[in-house]
């Protein structure tokens, strides 16, 4: 039975999980490991178990506990796309009828639109912004962000498409190679996403479009970086950062280093996640306590305020500290 399982998985899974040698460098940055100390819930444990021919049913809890923060992918010495691996395994669970995440998403008050296609309008040459779910529910902040992004170039807002797509990916309901995008998006110049998990998908689907996270877009707005102080703690949104780690670790180092501000980067320069956003917290299935992550990030730091890229990070930091928490867009005036 074990050999069949392994053979079956090998034909289905594209990610090259077989090159993992169990070095466990990924554990060092894994927030689930830090809180739970259970190897089976981590990428290292999951990958080695797949290599060892573990039955899929014994891996369900592990596959569904991953926060998809991407830190393991960023630090893997062998460049294994651990996020894609976990998403492929979730897709497999759905196909095998074993996924609780997809079922729970369907049964929950997810607010996912029935139609996940973009509105049929032409976006050629434009910059599109796809907010996350939290931001969609905060019209005032959303308007501010649009105005601040607009200081560089006009931005078109598409409300729920991004957050809905992200949920479907996370649940394994959609795969990377399923292209649900209308042809009108082909000429799109730039997509800015708050849900970093979408970045690899859009980059694959739209090869001529620049795809970046909201944090990187914000840091490119004149005045934002200048407004940072050495007593600031800047919380980098993890999924977008890790999705493009080799490039962004240099970008953030160059931009934030001279300001002297602290960040949520660990010694490996991976970003520590509060993981207060995403599917698992939505379904209340997260094995992580966002407040504990926030405390871990704050430990030992002497700061005066907290700057966040992901609006969902506001709550855990406000719950555990008295420091003012402001969104990166609030560093400058929104007036043109």
């Amino acid at each position: 039975m074990m050999k069949k399982e392994l053979a079956r998985l090998q034909k289905i899974i594209e990610t090259r999980y077989e090159i993992c040698n169990g070095c466990a460098v990924c554990l060092l940055s894994c927030p689930v490991w830090h809180q739970q100390r259970d190897i089976m819930l981590t990428q290292c444990g999951r990958t080695r178990a797949v290599q060892g021919g573990a039955p899929l049913e014994e891996l369900v809890a592990s596959i569904n506990s991953c926060l998809l923060c991407g830190a393991c992918k960023a630090v893997c010495p062998y460049g294994i796309d651990t996020i894609q691996l976990t998403l492929e395994l979730r897709r497999l669970l759905v196909k095998e009828g074993m996924s609780s995440l997809a079922d729970e998403l369907k049964n929950s008050d997810s607010g996912i639109s029935e139609d996940t296609h973009m509105a049929s309008t032409s976006y050629a040459g434009k910059t599109l912004f796809l907010p996350g779910r939290q931001l969609n529910n905060d019209q005032s902040m959303l308007n501010r962000i649009i105005r601040v992004l607009g200081k560089k170039e006009p931005v078109v807002l598409c409300h729920t498409f991004g957050s809905d797509l992200a949920m479907l990916f996370e649940a394994g309901e959609m795969a990377w190679n399923e292209n649900v995008l209308q042809p009108d998006l082909d000429g799109l110049r730039t997509i800015i996403v708050e849900e970093g998990i979408l970045i690899p998908y859009f980059r694959k689907a739209l090869s001529n479009t620049t795809v970046i996270g909201l944090g990187e877009a914000m840091l490119g707005i004149p005045g934002i970086v200048r407004a940072l102080k050495p007593t600031d703690l800047y919380i980098i949104e993890t999924r977008a950062y890790h999705a493009d780690f080799e490039r962004l670790v240099l970008v953030y180092n160059e931009l934030l280093g001279p300001t002297g501000c602290k960040t949520n980067l660990n010694l490996q320069r991976a970003a520590v996640s509060t993981r207060s956003t995403g599917l698992l917290p939505r379904l209340q299935k997260s094995v992580l306590e966002p407040e504990n992550q926030a405390r871990r990030i704050l430990e030992g730091l002497d700061i005066s305020r907290i700057i966040i890229e992901d609006s969902a990070d506001r709550m855990p930091f406000e719950h555990v500290s008295d420091y003012p928490v402001i969104h990166v867009s609030e560093l400058i005036s929104e007036e043109l």
């Binding site: 554990l27 100390r37 190897i39 060892g52 010694l267 490996q268 430990e299 730091l301």
Partner: protein
């Protein structure tokens, strides 16, 4: 010895040299698997005391091998450690039911030492939290299953750092101090084990004991460097220091002998805070020196640099370029070096770890590079640990062995300070004739994705270790698959003395069996 002819077909040629196993009877790579007698009663006994043993297929598959991937086993069940009290129950019950218990930390053994060949696998990473940081006395108390890197992260929040630990991100504190622990600052600071002030140990009979140089000293000395034979380390108090970024300089040699001689001069003179040798080919040998302070760096350049016969990078590149221009048939070597320079060298100075010429978190930088370029599905890292006098001859001979077996390999040499004639050093990586300093060299083949048979890799290790027997050295890794060398190197009298101590401490011989005894 007559090697039988192998018929052409799918079986590749047998690379075992005719004289590779000279004097060594052919050994099975794995220890025999424990029969399992008494396992069910043991599990029930533990369950009755609130200890849950995980016997799931998926989790067991995580523990079938170690970093070396030469030996393969499988536990009957796993416990993720949570407390010393629980471990005490585990070991007491193991004595009663005669169930072997194999302890694993980071699992970076290469000879099967942390693999359970049946019995219980005790994973210490469940006990991996920092207990307390004492900034006044500059000590840290930590659970022993913690990775050194995680300890570094916890200390860094307060501008602090550990003293010395292996250049490997995922080694555990307990596992390391159980064998020694060597870094490029070991010429100054000694082994990681020498930083330990006190430990909490669970003995094989299940007693929880706090030990130090002042309290329960005999146990303290046996557990440090003790290969896990005399107890399970559950907590340790270690010396710490202020964190400092360091400045690194490299000096390049085309002669391994000259590089080793100059390294010994630097060590004797305490010329730098960090000193080590890394080779790319034996024509490209690199002495690395690094400094915690600008003052030490200045003194080095004033007092010692002129005695080094190595070159800076530019001078050496010109010299090496000229060599390969005059030896065009060695184009493959030249191509290898160019590839390393282009792809590997930048990984040692990533801009996001460098500020004003100083490297921050060099262990992260080096540790990741080590995995990336030297890590593989199998890892063999035989070593020799010698006195100062025997260092050069041993390593030159080892280098010749490497050349015979592999196209590309690296030698990593360090010196280690000794702190007197301590019982902990008695049967350890320090040879009996080492005074003041021991010298070690790891011989690390680059397997480069190729698959080598276990016989081939074992032959290579045997040939390196035979040098140690002949010259009277020791080894950093002498357990597991290599334990056949213990008596040859240490002699029956010393080994039997330790065996008697082991039998007294562990009557059922259940703790970490087949590692040393």
């Amino acid at each position: 010895m007559k090697i039988p002819t192998i018929a052409k077909g799918d079986i590749p040629p047998d690379h075992v040299a005719p004289d590779a196993l000279q004097g060594i009877p052919r050994q099975q790579t794995n220890p025999g698997r424990w029969s399992g007698e008494g396992w069910d009663d043991y599990v029930k006994h533990l369950a009755g005391n609130g200890v849950h043993v995980n016997e799931g297929k998926a989790i067991k598959s995580l523990y079938c091998t170690d970093a070396g991937a030469v030996a393969h086993g499988l536990p009957h069940g796993i416990v993720n450690a949570v407390s010393a009290k629980e471990i005490a129950e585990i070991l007491k019950a193991a004595q009663k039911h005669r169930v072997p218990v194999t302890v694993k930390g980071g699992g970076l053994t290469t000879e099967g030492e942390s693999i359970a060949f049946g019995g219980l696998q005790l994973d210490m990473r469940g006990m991996s939290r920092v207990v307390a940081i004492d900034k006044e006395n500059m000590t840290v108390r930590t659970e022993a299953g913690i990775y050194w890197h995680s300890l570094a992260e916890a200390l860094r929040k307060y501008g602090l750092d550990y003293l010395s630990a292996p250049l490997n991100l995922t080694a555990s504190v307990g596992g390391t101090i159980g064998v020694g622990g060597v870094d490029i600052n070991s010429p100054q600071l000694g082994c990681s084990a020498d930083q330990v002030i006190s430990m909490q140990v669970v003995t094989p009979k299940g007693r929880i004991v706090e030990c130090s140089e002042k309290k329960n000293r005999e146990l303290f000395e046996r557990v440090l460097f003790g290969y896990g034979q005399f107890g399970v380390i559950t907590e340790a108090t270690l010396r710490i220091r202020k964190f400092r970024p360091i400045t690194i300089h490299y000096f390049y040699y085309s002669s391994l002998r000259k590089a080793m001689e100059d390294m010994q001069m630097l060590v004797r003179s305490d010329a730098a805070d960090y000193i080590g040798i890394l080779t790319m080919l034996d024509r490209v040998v690199n002495i690395l020196v690094a400094f915690d302070s600008d003052e030490r760096e200045r003194l080095f350049f004033t007092n010692y640099k002129r005695y080094l016969r190595g070159f800076g990078e530019l001078g050496f590149s010109i010299k090496t370029g000229a060599y390969y221009a005059l030896h065009p048939w060695k184009y493959q070597e030249a191509a290898f070096l160019l590839d390393r320079k282009k792809n590997m060298m930048p990984d040692f100075t990533p801009p996001y770890h460098m500020v004003d010429g100083k490297i921050y978190d060099r262990v992260v930088v080096y540790g990741k590079a080590i995995w990336k370029y030297w890590g593989d599905k199998q890892m063999v890292i035989p070593d020799l640990a010698t006195s100062e006098e025997k260092f050069i001859e041993a390593i030159l001979r080892g280098n010749q062995v490497c050349k015979k077996f592999f196209p590309h390999y690296t030698l990593y040499c360090v010196a280690i300070k000794l702190f007197g004639d301590l019982p902990r050093y008695e049967m350890s990586c320090f040879p009996p004739d080492a005074k003041d300093f021991g010298y070690g060299c790891e011989f690390e083949p680059m397997l480069e994705g190729k698959t080598y048979s276990r016989d081939y890799l074992q032959s290579f290790k045997n040939e390196i270790y035979d040098i140690g027997v002949e010259l009277g050295t020791s080894y950093y890794r002498f357990g597991g698959v290599m334990k056949g060398y213990i008596r040859r190197v240490f002699g029956d009298e010393l080994v039997d003395k330790h065996l008697a101590l082991k039998r007294k401490a562990d009557p059922a011989m259940i703790l970490n069996p087949d590692v040393i005894f």
